[in-house]
Assembly symmetry: C2
Homo-oligomer: 301 residues x 2
């Protein structure tokens, strides 16, 4: 079977990105005729037209779209092969890019990282705090090596490992009626002024799901940009809310005039996990970091 060259596949992907032969050629650091003939040859090898040559630039045919998708996967695997081999020469070294969601990073990482750093001084960690979607995208486009997120999160091409549980705690201003109620179940929040994080935070979705809230019908449609802000708003009497136990333990809300309490059965919460791109050469390191986080989670009060 006659295969196209990786180089030709790169050209094709660039063409898909740029939708122009000359711009794509520029991106690939070759001249336009070079790229043109390369694309033509790929089409000859595959026996299908991949590109629609139009007056203004180029667009992909249906077959072209699928081919590009496969080509990207192949190029990514090839890049993985190279970095895995490089890694083999010098294991556990080089910069490692770790992402984490904002409702986790400030509370979980400080404890974990100090342990990790002392155990593995050769590991250069770079951190990025972002929402789940962006972190997954980072894993996909290789700007991240691993990410700490809330599970379950199924996504093709992404592998995950569960590290532990994180309970949701109830917070309210001192003297709120739900602070004094004998029993407290998640459904009791329905109808109250529940403050949530702004859209895009997975904690927001988890809270809505756990308490069976109807997000649109929420009386006060106020959203906070961070947990710290949220806590301040609750302390200011604007409403009630949930916070992850891990954040509360790390000192979130300390000093504020707040009532923090557990729910009675059923306990609600989320799972913490680590994710990496399937086939990543840094999977071993991702699992190692996961192990360290897991230890931190288990060691809590």
């Amino acid at each position: 079977m006659h295969l196209p060259t990786l180089r030709q596949l790169q050209f094709l992907c660039a063409l898909a990105d740029e939708k122009s032969f000359s711009r794509a050629a520029d991106v690939c650091n070759v001249t336009q005729p070079t790229l043109s003939s390369a694309i033509k040859e790929v089409e000859a090898i595959l026996g299908v037209q991949l590109v629609e040559r139009e007056a203004r630039g180029a667009s992909l045919t249906r077959a072209g779209e699928e081919t590009v998708e496969r080509a990207r996967a192949i190029l990514s695997s090839a890049a993985d092969l190279v970095s895995a081999a490089h890694q083999a020469g010098a294991p556990l070294t080089g910069p490692f890019h770790l992402g984490a969601i904002p409702t986790l990073a400030p509370y979980l990482l400080p404890r974990t990282l100090s342990a990790l750093r002392s155990g593995h001084p050769e590991l250069k960690l770079y951190l990025r705090e972002d929402q789940t979607d962006r972190l997954i995208e980072g894993l996909r486009n290789r700007t991240l090596d691993a990410a700490l997120i809330a599970l379950p999160w199924a996504s093709s091409g992404i592998e995950t490992e569960t590290l532990g549980d994180d309970e949701f705690l109830f917070i309210a201003p001192k003297g709120h009626k739900l602070s004094r109620s004998k029993k407290l179940s998640p459904e009791d929040l329905n109808g109250e002024d529940v403050l949530l994080l702004e859209d895009g935070h997975c904690l927001r979705d988890h809270a809505i799901a756990a308490c069976a809230l109807s997000p649109s019908a929420s009386p006060s449609n106020i959203s906070a940009t961070s947990l710290a802000t949220l806590v301040q708003m609750v302390a200011g009497g604007l409403g009630i809310s949930l916070v992850p136990k891990i954040a509360a333990e790390a000192g979130l809300g300390a000093g504020a005039d707040l009532n923090v309490r557990q729910f009675d059965q059923p306990l609600i919460g989320r799972q913490i996990g680590i994710a990496w791109r399937a086939g990543s050469p840094r999977e071993a390191e991702a699992r190692m970091i996961g192990k360290s986080v897991k230890k931190t989670l288990a060691a809590r009060a």
Copy 2:
């Protein structure tokens, strides 16, 4: 990032297979120096030694092993890209290689295939009957496009779809005591002379599991090579056994002096499914065939 060529990866895989530069070169239809320098260049690109040059032939280093594994995956994806594109030019044509396990093929395929052929006359079907392991291997090395097997069967790189259930029926010689017992549950077979297919047939394992048999302690350690043989042996009074309902319905055991009956609760059986290599360009056709089989299964008495 500098990538190795697909050609170079092919050379490397051939070297891994042949464990000899000259033989590998032969396989690739190039001369030995060509392959030697290509391998050397890959090592330069990756910055690791992949091959241990020994007096008698060559062996892979640890890094080499992993690189070869990744290389094989990449080459397979590249081959898929090509055939997917070819497919796009002429969908649903060209030879399709379908495998099926021996306890299914003779009983399920006749009915399904005639329906399939009339519905899709352009599809050239080639059939192969073999045990599950070999079929999966066939999917892996691209000699098969899909396979009808018993599920569940998890295997990385293989995708499956469940098509229906197939109950196990009890068979015994006329007059056997279990033929006359009021109720019949799978555990009743324990301790009896249960005849099974020879090792490697998944039906054997399913039967052992379903009836909680201890295979080594089976009084008569007789194994049959096919269901037809098995039925003859049971009819000959050598013992009792299980047969898939689908086989019985297709006429297995018709005419033989046999007692066939259902089990009472719990019913036991297996699931029928179709499997294909993840990323196969013929996935759509595999699913189509699966649909046809599913219809056949559902249309039974």
